[in-house]
């Protein structure tokens, strides 16, 4: 009788190894998304006309089911991690751009006027005033991006077993070991919850200037469907 944490050898990883793999596949795309979203959002704020088309494109991209995305990409990038990470990066971008734009735009007019009047140039103003004030909104976006990314990685099991913890689902069926499926779902969920908690902690650390009682409800959180549940359903299919 093999135990809960005994991972079949065909996966070539221990349980912890799978977690590491899962984290890499989930977080690298979010990082990529953030790095692209910061300047893109700034462009959208500076040139207002740019935001509606960008928002439109990102919404359409978000609407593409992950499986369809994978199938298209397989022709180009094969059955690799990259095939899994590209859609995840795109999804992150899609979540982060509006989050950052909303956050930056929520900076009060008076604050901006004061900064300009004190001789802040546009770059200094973005980095020293707008971004710090947008931190709560950016982290709210990051939370969604990270959680959905963590759950979506599992779908990668259909792309040549690139699903990290998700691969346990296939093995559970193959070896008739239902506990592996439980392990996969529970570990993924715990991973998502822990990462989310870390982000909340980061927010608290970065924003001592927010009234603690009345922390603003992150806007982006309500704007999108709950990705974790969707992705889990998607993954189990």
């Amino acid at each position: 009788m093999s135990g809960f944490f005994d991972i079949p050898s065909d996966l070539q990883h221990s349980w912890l190894g799978l977690i590491g793999l899962h984290l890499r596949e989930a977080l690298l795309p979010v990082l990529f998304g953030l790095v692209c979203a910061l300047p893109l959002a700034q462009l959208c704020v500076r040139f207002r006309w740019l935001y509606p088309p960008v928002l439109w494109v990102t919404t359409v991209l978000y609407a593409i089911p992950s499986l369809a995305f994978f199938v298209v990409l397989i022709d180009y990038t094969g059955q690799t991690e990259l095939t899994v990470m590209i859609p995840l990066g795109v999804y992150s971008l899609v979540v982060l751009v509006p989050a950052i734009v909303d956050g930056v735009r929520s900076v009060p007019q008076e604050t901006l006027a004061a900064a300009t009047a004190m001789g802040f140039g546009p770059v200094r103003r973005y980095v020293q005033v707008q971004l710090p004030i947008a931190v709560p909104a950016i982290i709210a976006g990051l939370r969604i991006a990270v959680v959905s990314s963590v759950s979506l990685v599992s779908v990668g099991t259909l792309i040549g077993n690139q699903g990290a913890l998700g691969n346990l689902l296939a093995d559970a069926m193959f070896y008739h070991r239902p506990e592996l499926a439980v392990n996969s779902v529970v570990t993924t969920a715990v991973l998502a919850i822990v990462l989310d908690a870390l982000l909340v902690g980061l927010r608290v650390l970065l924003t001592p200037w927010m009234p603690s009682g009345a922390r603003r409800k992150p806007k982006a959180a309500t704007a999108r469907p709950e990705p974790a549940t969707l992705a889990l359903e998607d993954a189990v299919k």
Binding site: P108, E110, T111, A113, A114, A115, T116, A117, M118, G119, F120, G121, V129, P132, I133, V135, T207, P208, W209, M210, P211
Partner: protein
Amino acid sequence: MIRIDSVTKRYPDGTVAVDRLSLEIPDRSITVLVGPSGCGKTTTLRMINRMVEPSEGTILLDGKDITQQPVNTLRRSMGYVIQNAGLFQHRTIVDNIATVPRMLGWGKEKARARARELMERVGLDATLAKRYPYQLSGGQQQRVGVARALAADPPVLLMDEPFSAVDPVVRKGLQEELLRIQDELGKTIVFVTHDIDEAVKIGTMVAVMRTGGKLAQFAPPAELLSHPADEFVEDFLGADRGIRRLSFFPSAGLQLLTAPIVAIDSTAEQITARDTAGAPYLLVTDLEGRPLGWGEPDRLTAGDIRAEHLLSHGRPFVAGTDSLRAALDCAVLSPTGWAVAVDAEGRAAGVVSQQTIAEAIRSAHAEGRETDRAARATQVTKAVG
């Protein structure tokens, strides 16, 4: 000196916010721009630090066109205070105030020391230094806004309705604080408000603007009240212009009577022997000469001179320092119709009837004898400090 030379601002949508405006803003004094909403006050102010560029005309600072120097250098030489303060919510109070010195390359410690010094100057408790803006009241935030604008000791201060978002009591405190600070620092201040009372109270010069961005009148407040240029200015000044104008007449010339003043230890004989100049009531003072209240001569001569039987004397005015408006106010509020004048130490200096004040007002009007701004400013300082 800031010289605005036939400046016009036309916004891209065609709105003419300011129309051929010319103003000479004197150094080291407060010039107030006042007018109804949308008359171009903010636009005018923002053209001075180039947050808005004029469509036509030039603005000169000490004889030099302001476009001659880099825009951020210009802005750092001008403090800017706005409604709701516009503080950086993510920075502590002391770091908010230290912003411009830090940008000018000061060391962190030096900038913070300067910030703490300014907090004291604007009347903020040192314990607030490490707080964030959300932890301060509106009035405190506004003080931080003023301190932040003063941080790098700029010669010019631009203020856009800085006190309009706070309640009247706090506003009055802030106005007096500003006059006090101005007395010490002597900045060239351009102050925007839509409140004519505020303009009259703090302005050395007042520019009344009318809708369409035109200048209606540019004059010292006393002149504005006595000689409004046209019907628009007169309407804008409001109904009790006459009363308010009285605050520019000194009470120094008022004939004060000392005969109706008796000390509380006076005997009935002493009181009867006194010629009370026809005053219906006598003012009773304590042994140091501070007013206690009014007593009827009959009761006093009957030996009934206990303090609890006296009528309240209301709030006295300070002889010489306060204006005729204050004197009239005392007389109107006094149950006897007589005002009590005190000296700087609060001792009764004399009493004066409404009739006497009315005569003084008439003759002051006839002579057109308003005190000038500078004299008033020091009076306010005295009153506050």
